[in-house]
Symmetry: D2
Subunit: 500 residues, 4 copies
Amino acid sequence: MSIDIPARPAALSVDTRNGVAYRVADLGLAEAGRHQIRLAEHEMPGLMSLREEFGPHQPLKGARIAGSLHMTVQTAVLIETLRALGAEVRWASCNIFSTQDEAAAAVVVGTTGTPERPEGTPVFAWKGETLEEYWWATQQIFDFGADENGAPQGPTLILDDGGDATMLVHKGTEFEAAGAVPDAAEGDSHEWRVVLDVLRDSLQSDPQRWTRMGQGILGVTEETTTGVHRLYELHRDGKLLFPAINVNDSVTKSKFDNKYGIRHSLPDGLNRATDVLMGGKTVFVCGYGDVGKGSADALRGQGARVIVSEIDPINALQAAMDGYQVARLDDVIGDIDILVTATGNENVVTVDQLQALKHLAIVANVGHFDNEIDMAGLESLPGAERIEIKPQVHEWRLPTGRSILVLSEGRLMNLGNATGHPSFVMSASFTNQVLAQLELHTKLDEYPIGVYVLPKFLDEKVARLHLDALGVKLTELTPRQAQYIGVDPAGPFKVDHYRY
Amino acid sequence: MSIDIPARPAALSVDTRNGVAYRVADLGLAEAGRHQIRLAEHEMPGLMSLREEFGPHQPLKGARIAGSLHMTVQTAVLIETLRALGAEVRWASCNIFSTQDEAAAAVVVGTTGTPERPEGTPVFAWKGETLEEYWWATQQIFDFGADENGAPQGPTLILDDGGDATMLVHKGTEFEAAGAVPDAAEGDSHEWRVVLDVLRDSLQSDPQRWTRMGQGILGVTEETTTGVHRLYELHRDGKLLFPAINVNDSVTKSKFDNKYGIRHSLPDGLNRATDVLMGGKTVFVCGYGDVGKGSADALRGQGARVIVSEIDPINALQAAMDGYQVARLDDVIGDIDILVTATGNENVVTVDQLQALKHLAIVANVGHFDNEIDMAGLESLPGAERIEIKPQVHEWRLPTGRSILVLSEGRLMNLGNATGHPSFVMSASFTNQVLAQLELHTKLDEYPIGVYVLPKFLDEKVARLHLDALGVKLTELTPRQAQYIGVDPAGPFKVDHYRY
Amino acid sequence: MSIDIPARPAALSVDTRNGVAYRVADLGLAEAGRHQIRLAEHEMPGLMSLREEFGPHQPLKGARIAGSLHMTVQTAVLIETLRALGAEVRWASCNIFSTQDEAAAAVVVGTTGTPERPEGTPVFAWKGETLEEYWWATQQIFDFGADENGAPQGPTLILDDGGDATMLVHKGTEFEAAGAVPDAAEGDSHEWRVVLDVLRDSLQSDPQRWTRMGQGILGVTEETTTGVHRLYELHRDGKLLFPAINVNDSVTKSKFDNKYGIRHSLPDGLNRATDVLMGGKTVFVCGYGDVGKGSADALRGQGARVIVSEIDPINALQAAMDGYQVARLDDVIGDIDILVTATGNENVVTVDQLQALKHLAIVANVGHFDNEIDMAGLESLPGAERIEIKPQVHEWRLPTGRSILVLSEGRLMNLGNATGHPSFVMSASFTNQVLAQLELHTKLDEYPIGVYVLPKFLDEKVARLHLDALGVKLTELTPRQAQYIGVDPAGPFKVDHYRY
Amino acid sequence: MSIDIPARPAALSVDTRNGVAYRVADLGLAEAGRHQIRLAEHEMPGLMSLREEFGPHQPLKGARIAGSLHMTVQTAVLIETLRALGAEVRWASCNIFSTQDEAAAAVVVGTTGTPERPEGTPVFAWKGETLEEYWWATQQIFDFGADENGAPQGPTLILDDGGDATMLVHKGTEFEAAGAVPDAAEGDSHEWRVVLDVLRDSLQSDPQRWTRMGQGILGVTEETTTGVHRLYELHRDGKLLFPAINVNDSVTKSKFDNKYGIRHSLPDGLNRATDVLMGGKTVFVCGYGDVGKGSADALRGQGARVIVSEIDPINALQAAMDGYQVARLDDVIGDIDILVTATGNENVVTVDQLQALKHLAIVANVGHFDNEIDMAGLESLPGAERIEIKPQVHEWRLPTGRSILVLSEGRLMNLGNATGHPSFVMSASFTNQVLAQLELHTKLDEYPIGVYVLPKFLDEKVARLHLDALGVKLTELTPRQAQYIGVDPAGPFKVDHYRY
């Protein structure tokens, strides 16, 4: 498969191992990225502490990590932490829009390298990939050159976000076992067709590639709800090829990244995209999970009137107790200035509902995929016209005569219109990731095939590594108090089902 | 054991079954209580829905329920719901101060009864019991008269709050097996001595009483953290005599009662006790669990500056992310106007710390027992003087020359100085209680000895029964959406480890 | 006019000067009041600072102050501050329900007196006066016995709240000039008829009493919006008899008392009256002035969904910017659980609207008079039935079959159901009052007849006296900074039209 | 004076009247600007309503308006509104960094023009002017070509922000009267030297230019505190040349722009500059005026712990009542992650304080001039090194070994790092501006020389024009209610000293 590497932005990796030089990164870009990485390190105390604690022991020596996760400044700090612990790393983004090119460039070039002689980590990602380019890039992270015997060598660990890398191994293995890649069915998405093409090419050129790859992988650590969901399904169906650690459900991930991260980046994205005052506006938030809670909180904090919808009566009751009107979208649709989806479900906003919105209402998705809003339906709506106001901000002129503003083409606007979660929040998530990679690399026998969350004491450790930076002084239990509540004075402090 | 029943308040029960009439309730009190119960019913839609749904089928027919839970207006609605579903009920409070006498009187007298001919439910509780009276009352709930064969008859179910009733059965059984009740050890609390006396008397008069009682009990449903903690310990040690349902950890209990209940009743108690402006004051909240979260939220909502302490790094990080200063008590003790304990641990505030507080600082416990603050230490502090400002509000003049105001003698001030959690919150908790009692009475085979939480669909049901009253409109999943996220359109909607 | 002094509560004043002993206060009540006053002093740093600063100089020596203001614990601290500065004082409440009997008793008895030999200040007030009793009591504050020549002697200053005392002097003077008191007109309120009777009796017994009284008065300091409004009207019409200081519009009064006071006492009153959970409820607040702002803020702080109505587009825009839905009452009336009036206008809630509310909706007035809600209309509504749940809490069964709960009979519920504003807030208001009395007593020549607000440096002084108690550290301007912004480093710091 | 017009950005005006074409705007830029202006119009309902109401009558016919105000998208809507009402307009920015080049380009080119044949309004502004360029641009707005008699023609009205245009006229007139421009004194700022040079050149080329200009000007409408302050000083000193309307102190300006505008743009600027998580951080806000209130509110809404400093005891008490710690900067300086100045004073943060901050603490000014933080001191600090992270974001490496991040070089970061106040807020401010221009142009006789605020009914009108867009439904007074509170049912509704 031949990919036409785009001429710019120049933030693209080089793979020196194979002697194949793709377009190298730009030095100016790399220097800008280096500055940002340095500032981000200051905001990522968890990762920096791990470097300090584990760096001298090189516990990831021998690990070959294939990473598929938004290639941002924060991910750069993650990548360099994995390297500092001894791992070999290759990286792609898990989203076609989310790469920050200067971060990618800096990671590729390394601290003392140049674009011509990069000394960093191979990264295959740039902002604004096509789907073909995206899946080409995803394949590159599996190619760790040849071992000492000249045999092709894949990763020992996957670090995944959304499960695309994991899916490639599993589907590849499945199709290789079947000896054929099925044809796309009618109604299959364009993306799925691209994946099938990729695997079809692979089957032709190396009929055991993914099977071999899967056998070499010790395990995967997965970042998000969606990816975790896929893993539980694979395991339920007996198809999971290696153990998986569900990083998403560490408390220090799900309750921090999802809630506090979005509280930060939703208003940030709205501002960068539209500069529209949130104060006084009526905002509808679909879903009151952690992401919805963070969204509602941020918008109220900016003086918006927030209305929430929910399908789960418990979350609905929480929303009510937190002072929000809980309504069905259809019942209040004519009042809404800003519509935010935070559900992780599909078709939460239909084309009919898009057409019922006020003129120039803003539509923003912070849930997961772009099918949360029926973008496909909108794209095929007769008479609808799409005008680019600026990248990732489009006015859709509707047959009703009204327009709406759709952010990031219905994809995650906190990534597309803002810069994703801020470093501090990602530090908590990524510290979990590194600890999870360490678990799989060093204690594999404790993880037979299955899906695991990290033990609570590691979760608490992640939190602990982030307190000093915030000036938080922890109170310590006396031995008598610890005994009174039946815990070790060093923790863990809570029963497993504690909800925080 | 002879108890001198206090002459007033007259809110005391009668037990007609044994022909022994204790002091009967006062009709005026009962009428006042009846009004309040009627208003509370309006605020307890969950319980009223259960009456409507299950009343005609009498599913609790044959159940004899011994209840030990604060005898408030809300509990009256619970008791009458249990009765409406067919149960026979006897009740005591689980706290010497928390009884609302008018509620007790109304429950005893019943809707159409009189103090002379009460038609309600036997209740053994009044506001301001001594410890001796308290344990006398607790014993009464186990005495369901004689069966058709004249044999003494105990409860089939316990509905417990804090585990005192359950403890009596377990300790009684243990001592009966040993054939003796141990002497109190030096350092044993006064309360434990009272318990030992009660069991010693019992062993003498009926050496198999508690053993027999325990054998007749199908199970217990427990309301609070502390009680649940005891149950898990009993089960871990192989001593649990019957299955237990942990109502406390239903989401609709722990995340509502603990958080939203205290958000309501902490400021209420502060107001009724002291009328002190919370705005502008510096408040220190020990503990950022659900109770601490609700406390901090309420006080910030009143314009206080809130500082939080924590021992768990995860909760500490949550407090910081919610915008609170997280500090050690000792580091800021000279700045504090109001000190709130919300930990469930012991000795969280020491006598030294009490003495370091500002003049007329307010000390309030919403955690659990009165040992959360070192009240025993304060009482034995040479030179300390206690002045009653009004019931449950005491000024302690300290040797330092400063005073502090201690609410509810260090016990739960939301019960002692306010009226406990409001009806709506208790409706959620108590709907869980009724569902749990139904589970044990009707599906005992699904509950071998152990400690259980209610299945998630019942938790969601509890939430659902409270939405209409708040005008909440739930959104419904389409079948396709349900399939997309892999759930039944009717729920349950979340994985078990979901944290809300 | 003969008044039948009620037998209990016994918190009633004695007037020793005239040798006429009315029912004396109860010692137990007085002692309870004394405790509360001591605690209140701690919360009223402004008044205590004035005692310290001015007490030695006795600047109010020779002042005879007639006070008409809610006879609460806080007012007791005010009265004793005026005394400490040298004034002679007589007091009545300005509301038939707002007296706290223990405070009245303590003020009457004094620190070392007894009911038989009271040594305090004459107070004519008890909780639950009839209108006849109220106006009898108001008259008593004008009777300062005889001067050294035996001539009857009135006050030199009025301290008023709502303007009733001031009105009596002005109307008395007007009718004395006319030589007759007019008959009541049809439609005149009962209260107005009582006032006419009082003045008719007075005219008969002493035809120059109020004229003489008015001539002896140096000025009045007025506490509230309503009273201030009356004063501006009197002055506009050329009828004002003496200068008036508008204490209400000191920043440290209006922006603190109205906003932060009601933020405290509205939820307090709702709790004491109904114990209803505010969280999750839909609350409608009529009016978004300072009182409405404080109301909305408090209710949101408790997790209520708040909807606001406004007639002023500026305040309406503020409400929207603060995140509240701004609607007309009629448009959302079926959704409301709690209805709060905060306007100072009349007939803001009509009988039709009362009937359109949900079953057991709560109706609470924190605006001003009871005509804010059409209570008169409700009382004359055929088929409406009033049931007393407890004092100041009435269920009204309506012809619709639904009920509503009306608090404090439509009068100020923060006074009737709670204990009014807390001490700290009243300290700011009352420190303004004392400073205003000082201005009139000591610098009368600077106040020709007219209505004045206190100069800004005194307003700032009031604030300054309340900072230490809250641990507030003020930053000081350097001389250069002061010059840069063109102010004195000691203040005042703002232009007069600054809005805070 | 010759100015070297920068080659890019190309957003620069053309003046066709004089036949002198400066660098014309870029069409792509203009088209981008046109899109943004169209979206902004939707968010500026006040201005659009004025176009609709007044456009047909051309009430500004004959007005020549010299505007000196940040050349943003919102200002474009203002300019085009003034044009739509009949005025002739020339514009410069009032800040060297705040111009949005695409907005400038769009205004210059006009809706149907081209860069070669611009049909819009002359604008002299681009992002990143030098001080020499800035003052050159400011001069251009006074040059309205020649009248029908060929005499040079200046503006009839100034629309000013900060008072630079007004200052030029006043200083020019003063120096022309003196016949000489003084030499710069030692210690004079670079900017003041530039102004003196400008006026010296002017005096040489046309010794009556500014005198003539001042005589032709009917009045000025001024946008900000600083400018208003200068006007009151000029008037106090008898030097004011023409009447001024203080737009800043319209309620719908100062209480909206300052508070709600900064609430929006402070976190926006922090995000765009640094992407740093605000949640959990300790933020210090200097000043609790309207800007400080909005700042503190926004940061708390993002989960920061906010500490406030104040010099005014009233504002300090407000901050405490709103729940903020009020401290002196020096006392907590080691805890601060983000330092925000919101005072309008000078030297509020000294170089010593900058050096005492934590490593990588962020320093942001939203007050007024860059002397609020001692940037001059920092620039001359030996051993301090400035590293540009990106435009308007600089790391200063300090001799202490620590660094700080300074935003916008100490100037207004909401303009330099964000896009200023959002359109909706500016709509309120600018609607006041247009009404003020209308007052001066059409009712000059009502405005003898002096400084005025707009009458309250116009202030209320501004608010009213913004309600529909937010879905706010205003309640209307009945005639009886209006009479009861003594107002016209159509307003104004409040006394002049009402503080909102």
